[in-house]
Symmetry: C2
């Protein structure tokens, strides 16, 4: 049984693309496979599974040595189980930069494309066999693309991601604006999460000026709900950083509908980062960054200190 | 101008696949590109260029910082210019194991497939646009596949490599057995090369039991020509190893037509490797290994000490 596995913070793409590829391996390639997760899906991903009647994949803590695994939506060992290089990675499908940490013992299939979403790459790899897919698989694929592109608002969006999503929506009879509004409402419902969980929910590690950063993003249609919790979120940052071996946490609250982000500014280091990276003027403990929506395209490349 | 670059020891695939991809970038994608080499093409690759009227690509020593480069037929920094991680790698197309040393700053196109030949992967990526290709490009593609598969004899050969080569040969009106015989005669004409050049001609670095090995292969239809030089070849090994930071050189003379290899045995270390890796009985300074043709599939995975 092949395990299909995404990164440690299961958003829609990291939850949905293992489901899509496990379907493809089982039903088209006739190879037994199962989607697995490294943690609880976020609220949008959980909503997606319910909406399309897909069973929640098993949550695993690690992989056995020699276990066959397909890695999707990441290629970074820091986002994978500790034993990833002892497992047998048989395929990688991803849309992130090449992190350089995974080695394989033999040549395998690796497909990395500069598209907004892993599910778009899978759409292309599956090709005409997608006609065999049940609505649930197409619905998951559509959700992944709308999630990663923030309904085509993110600058990571390519014309191809958009065309694939529009084709899937037409096929499923889904109205994209209505559907995306439901998705984003689910993503924005974070009332059940503690402050430290929010800081870790969608977070990537990044080194800047000798400091190890957690660069965290919360995409929401209700930014005020999170801004109302800003004091508690900032108070939780030193504990999360210490527990995770980081020096600082940067939290960007991305306002999907108004296409802007608010960065919390708990200290002078983050103030300097905000000023040097985004040419911003910081006066209080938050700073508004107009147009900033994508960690990959706009935040990480800009980071300076 | 994008540079398209293969590995350090330009055989037919490492010479031809940059030529193919530079054609595709220039003529189909309308993006200025040039094939380049890291050294003189081997005798087979040189014959291929002459046979199809392709100008020999420029030989370069290094890349400038930020220079755009497509890496083909390798993904291993040890086989690339020293400054590869300062250059701007914009695409990788390969059929080797993931070596893990290249990092990229943004997501790029990476296509690695467990096929016998990079040119086969390019055939698939180019798709219907191959109809626009001149005969020279198809002829180079055919040569790469016949070279890497040793005319379908190598165990690395897949049904897909074979089907692509047969389609290309039919299209070009080329008789594969006659054509391959000419190719292999060119590859076997190594009279102009000094012993140290032969030891480095088709060589990969590999660590075994704490020792750094140069695992060298010479594919030939005239093994006796090389066996007649075995004393000189063994005498050259310590100097080549020392100059290249290796501990030992393993030289496998692959007899293409009889589908077997002869390993030179200059010392007790190599004798032990031969015995432990291939269950061979070594009595003199050579050992015949029936059926062994592929470094990737049969030699490297078997190496033990």
């Amino acid at each position: 049984m092949i395990k299909v596995l995404g990164h440690k913070a299961p958003d829609s793409d990291a939850t949905g693309s293992p489901v899509i590829w496990a379907w493809y391996l089982n039903e088209v390639r006739k190879t037994p496979a199962a989607a697995v997760l490294q943690g609880e899906p976020n609220t949008e991903a959980g909503w997606m599974l319910t909406r399309w009647g897909v069973e929640k994949p098993e949550i695993i803590a690690d992989l056995a040595a020699g276990e066959k695994v397909v890695v999707v939506d990441t290629n970074n060992p820091a986002e994978l189980p500790a034993s990833i290089n002892e497992a047998d990675v048989i395929e990688i499908i991803d849309h992130h930069l090449l992190a350089g940490g995974i080695k394989t013992k033999t040549p395998i299939n690796i497909t990395i494309r500069p598209l907004a979403c892993t599910a778009t790459i899978m759409h292309d790899l599956i090709g005409e066999d997608l006609a065999q897919a049940p609505e649930a698989i197409k619905g998951v694929m559509l959700t992944c693309i709308l999630s990663d592109t923030l309904e085509f608002r993110s600058p990571t969006t390519t014309a191809h991601d958009r065309a694939v999503a529009e084709k899937l929506a037409a096929d499923l009879g889904v109205n994209i604006p209505d559907y995306a509004a439901e998705m984003f409402a689910a993503k924005s419902d974070v009332s059940a999460f503690a402050d430290d969980a929010l800081l870790r929910m969608d977070s990537k590690e990044y080194e800047l000026g000798g400091k190890q950063l957690r660069v965290s993003v919360l995409e929401t249609t209700a930014p005020q709900v999170l801004l109302d919790r800003k004091d508690a979120l900032m108070a939780a940052m030193p504990g999360v950083a210490a527990a995770d071996g980081a020096d600082e946490v940067l939290l960007f609250i991305v306002d999907i509908l108004n296409e802007q982000a608010t960065l919390l500014v708990p200290n002078d280091f983050v103030k300097t980062v905000a000023e040097k990276s985004f040419n911003a003027t910081v006066t209080g403990d938050t700073v508004l960054l107009p147009g900033i929506m994508s960690r990959k395209k706009q935040i990480i490349p800009a980071l300076a200190v």
